[in-house]
Symmetry: C2
Subunit: 409 residues, 2 copies
């Protein structure tokens, strides 16, 4: 299958390119390198050093014996996107090319409007390019479980049958996003759904949980083919590594916890730490996205998958990181920090997640193994985290002020 | 009350300025004049000639004895918007400054993305300006009944109590927009609702039905004060007139029907003409918006009003226009035209609309009177409709092709 990855330089995009190539797919993709710039703007960098695109492409070719077609450019530029797609001729497009940070979107009005323009117009460009030139192509679009917020009812996968005042209908499930970034994902869902309805396009809208992990098998050095490539201390080809963000703006809670553990500062759940979310390891995310690609929806079908393995609360996460650190001989401490966000402290959370299991998803079920790999990889690069450790403390507050948060008293 | 109208040069914006001034409010507002440009881009013009802003402002001053503070600029420019608001110091902002045409948003990818950037970023700028500088201000935001589509259940006003798989919650009612313009209104609703929740802003989100009519009392020449102003044949001050669009892109169905009647071409409902929508006369729209302004929500309250008087199907509308034309001695004919849009032909439609009645809204209940005024005003300017009559036939199709539609065979 010919698969075009928009946002191929990112955490998931680059990893997916390796995973799909190893399964025999032809991979191409586009990126403008914005993720590297955003993290730099926040005063940080990837904890794990990542190669520039030229080196990445070279290592890819050595490892998989074929070229990855890369298009450098801006998805909000319709001409660039359309020409790239015409050149590549995809069977499927995986759209990972959006600004993915809630705090970044809440910095100020300019970041909020820019996030809207960037995320929405990139997706609209893709939908129109598909309508006019690739009507059979499958759009695998990354949404987020965060679109739903935390309703007091079960979150279905896709539409829900509802009875209201004596009549019935099947309707889109209501969204309650928690930041302007999350709002853009909600808007995208409306726009993609509409395109499928009006134009007969096919799309899988993946409501993804929080992905964690630093490794998949396809990154490892392999004596049969990797002779010219350099492996790091973990046995992974350095130029095939994917990024790992730990700053308070682009790092997820679990990433920050691991980074805090390896540099010996307290692990900081926000608020009371009872927020519940869905999580899945990096390798499971790859498995799920590939299942969706290899089992595309019908023409005109708009399909929603809730993609996560388990629901944990933030305190459970912190404890799991403490446990993984202990195996490395690190005594990590947990200390709660005031929450810069506006979110419910205690809430019901019970989303369906059956559709990927029905397609054959086999959860690896190994959070501790994945966390151990993360801690090992970060320990190796702890000086890079120490150098930017002040970015671990959040300073983007939902009320618009910009001051470092304190510990809970 | 100091009321700032964004989009004050438009059909509703200008009319509302007159209505509010007559009730003793201090009115100001912003506009970039885009509506005039869009209609020109579509090859048409307002059937009723409208004065330039300078003349409008002069006539306003003569008629109401006070100045209207006008700010020319772009709502997507935060600095412009913020400086205008700082200068005016509003108690309430009425946001009518968006691109309001479904077909215009569906012309091509560039019009779809532009509509998103224009509509969403203008509203986001307003929300951030309110958060940071006018936290007590009331935002009266114009949405559309079209956000809801045509669900098979009652459409509530605001959130709905729902029971789903044994649990209950109060959730935003699902939206099913019918064009990318409608999508932007849905996105705005999510963004405004979020700002009220996060920042304690107050907003009324008006899901407005289709407004029709050309006159309100405040436009009429008045011997006590209007000595220096010129009245047209209907006794209305020419420089206080509001626009009337009849082209297939910016004219509503009812506007096109009236325009078709006065120039003697068939009235053209789309498809079978069974689509049902909510409608209200221009003077009722003014009454409702003013009720919302004079009865603002609490701080932190996000309030939804469904604003319309009656539900009609498109065929009933066509018949009402035939009746109004007959009174003028015009024998109008109805001939159905193929539908360039994608919408349900036959559907349930039953939206609540109680909240404005509870605030004291008294429907004028006089569709025929309103239509008679419309036909009279258009008859006076029928040569302007004849000059652009080809724009009455739609050529923006939802599938992306651009050909004039035919009559139903």
């Amino acid at each position: 299958m010919r698969i075009f990855i928009a946002g191929i330089d990112g955490y998931l995009g680059w990893t997916l390119a390796l995973y799909l190539a190893n399964r025999g797919h032809d991979v191409g993709g586009a990126d403008l390198g914005l993720r590297r710039q955003w993290v730099e703007e926040m005063g940080s960098h990837s904890a794990i050093p990542i190669a520039g695109m030229e080196k990445r492409l070279n290592a890819f070719k050595v490892k998989f014996g074929k070229r990855l077609k890369f298009y450098k450019g801006d998805l909000t530029d319709y001409v660039f996107l359309s020409e790239s797609l015409h050149d590549f001729k995809p069977d499927a497009i995986v759209h990972l090319g959006e600004m993915p940070s809630a705090p970044y979107s809440m910095i100020d009005v300019h970041h909020a409007t820019w996030t809207h323009t960037n995320n929405l117009n990139g997706t609209l460009n893709m939908l129109f390019a598909m309508r006019d030139h690739f009507p059979d192509c499958h759009l695998l679009k990354l949404g987020t479980m965060g679109e739903f917020g935390t309703p007091n009812v079960v979150i279905p996968e896709g539409d829900f049958e509802v009875e209201y005042r004596g009549r019935k209908d099947k309707l889109p499930f209501p969204r309650q996003p928690g930041s302007y970034y999350h709002c853009t994902k909600v808007h995208d869902s409306v726009n993609v759904r509409s395109a499928c309805k009006w134009w007969g396009l096919r799309s899988t809208d993946v409501m993804q949980g929080v992905v964690y992990g630093t490794r998949i098998n396809e990154m490892f050095w392999d004596s049969a083919v990797s002779e010219d490539l350099v492996a790091d201390d973990a046995g992974i080809v350095a130029d095939l590594r994917t990024r790992f963000d730990f700053d308070a703006t682009f790092g997820t809670a679990i990433n920050r916890f691991c980074a805090q553990a390896v540099i010996g500062v307290p692990i900081t759940p926000y608020g009371k730490g009872h927020q519940r979310r869905g999580f899945l390891p990096l390798q499971d995310s790859m498995q799920c996205l590939t299942l969706a690609l290899e089992n595309p929806p019908e023409k005109g079908e708009y399909r929603v998958f809730n993609q996560f393995e388990e629901v944990y609360d933030v305190t459970q996460l912190a404890e799991a990181v403490v446990f993984a650190a202990k195996k490395r001989g690190i005594e990590a401490k947990v200390r709660n920090m005031c929450n810069p966000r506006m979110e419910a402290e205690k809430h019901y959370y019970n989303p369906d997640h059956q559709r990927l299991l029905d397609l054959g998803y086999k959860p690896t079920g190994d959070m501790h193994g994945e966390l151990t790999g993360m801690v090992d990889d970060l320990y190796m690069h702890r000086s890079r985290i120490e150098a930017k450790s002040e970015t671990l403390v959040p300073d983007v507050r939902w009320d618009g002020s910009r001051e470092k948060m304190d510990y809970v008293k």
